[in-house]
Symmetry: C2
Subunit: 208 residues, 2 copies
C-alpha cells in the first residue's frame, strides 16, 4: 500500500533531478514573492516550464512543495497527528517527544541548522519560515486546541522548541546537547502541557 | 553618586574612540583565540598597544570587557542580582521580567539580533556566545540554586529565553511579538520556576 502511494519509476530519466530542482527554484521564487496563499501550483509549474501534473507527481501538494522548498525534513502533519491521537493529559509530552524524535537524525538536524541560519540572515528565508510556522505548525495546533489564546499558546510552544533546537543542535551547549530524549521529554512535557492547555495568567483583557 | 562611578572627562580626547575600538578588537581576538580563561587584560592591552590601566579605565573588568567585545548590552549580573533578591517562590517570574525588560529597549534588541545572527553564522562568534552564556549566565544561576541538575536547569531556562527572543524580536511572529511584558511574564514565569526549582522528571541515573 505504501509503495503504491509513491511514484514508481523504472529508472531515473535524464533531466529528472534537473526538473525537480527547476520546480523547487520556481517554488521558492513564487512563495517568496507572492506568499503561500497567492502562489499556485499552476504558476510554479509555468515558472519551471513543466506541466502542473508533474509538480503534483513530484511533490504531492502545495503544502509539501512548500516544505520541500524550505528543505524542512519533517512534515508537521505527522507530529500533529500524534498529538491529536494522544491522551489530552499527555499532549505536552507527546508533542515534545515528536519534536525531538523528528530532529534527532543527523540529516534532519543538518537541515534544521541550515534553515535557522538562513532565516537569521535573510529576510526572504525568514518570511518563508514565518509563514510556514504560522500556516503549517501553529495554525493547526491552534485549530485543534479549542482553548482561548490559542495563537499565543502555539507561539509559546514554538519558542521553547526553537530555543531548545538552537541550544542543543546549533550551539551544542552542555549538558543540554547530550541529554537523552527521555530526559528532555520529562523536562519539557509539563511546559508544553501548560502552554497548550493550562492557565497562562492574565489575558489580553487585563492589559492596559 | 552615579556620576562619581563613571569616568569623568573634561572633553573627548583625540583618538579616544580609536583607542576603545583598538582595545575591543584586541579583546575579540584574544577571547576568540585563547578563550576567556587564558585571555588576560595585560595581553589585550599589549595587543592594543595601550597600558592595562586604560583597559580597566574604559571597561572596568575582564567580564565587562568580554560583554563589550560581544556587544552584549545587558550585564547579566544585574539580572542575577534581581533574581537573588526575589522571593524564592517568585524567582521564575522575576527572571522572566528581568530578561524581557533588559531586551525591550530597541537599541538592546538590535544588538541582540546582531549577536544571535553572528553566532548562527560564525563559529568564532558562536564559541564566544557559548562561553559567555556558560560563564556569565548559566554558571552563576547554577551556583546560586543549590539544586540537583543545576546545569541542565540553567540550560532549559536559557533555551526558553533564546527561543522567545528569536520569535519575538527576530522573526516577529504574532501574537507573541506584540504581547505585553506583563502577559509574557505571567506565561513564562511558571516555566522558569519549574525549570529552576521544580521536578524535572527522571534524572541522569534513570538514563540507560
Amino acid at each position: 500500500m505504501t509503495a503504491a502511494a509513491q511514484p514508481q519509476r523504472s529508472g531515473r530519466r535524464p533531466g529528472e533531478s534537473g526538473t525537480r530542482e527547476a520546480i523547487l527554484a520556481a517554488a521558492r521564487g513564487a512563495f517568496a514573492e507572492l506568499g503561500y496563499d497567492r502562489a499556485t501550483i499552476r504558476g510554479i509549474a509555468a515558472g519551471a516550464a513543466v506541466d502542473p501534473a508533474l509538480v503534483i507527481h513530484y511533490f504531492g501538494s502545495k503544502d509539501e512543495l512548500f516544505g520541500a522548498a524550505l528543505e524542512i525534513p519533517v512534515v508537521p502533519g505527522l507530529v500533529l497527528e500524534r498529538a491529536a491521537a494522544a491522551d489530552p493529559a499527555e499532549i505536552g509530552a507527546t508533542i515534545a517527544r515528536a519534536f525531538l524524535e523528528a530532529w534527532e537524525p543527523p540529516d534532519n538536524r543538518q537541515r534544521l541548522v541550515a534553515m535557522v541560519r538562513s532565516a537569521m540572515t535573510n529576510e526572504v528565508a525568514l518570511g518563508m519560515v514565518r509563514e510556514y510556522l504560522g500556516r503549517r505548525v501553529f495554525g493547526p495546533i491552534t485549530q485543534a486546541l479549542g482553548v482561548p489564546d490559542a495563537e499565543l499558546r502555539a507561539n509559546l510552544v514554538g519558542s521553547q522548541f526553537i530555543g531548545l533546537a538552537m541550544m542543543r543542535y546549533i550551539a551544542r551547549i552542555e549538558p543540554l546537547a547530550s541529554a537523552s530524549v527521555d530526559r528532555l521529554v520529562a523536562a519539557l512535557g509539563p511546559t508544553m502541557q501548560r502552554y497548550l492547555t493550562g492557565e497562562l495568567g492574565p489575558g489580553p483583557s487585563a492589559e492596559g
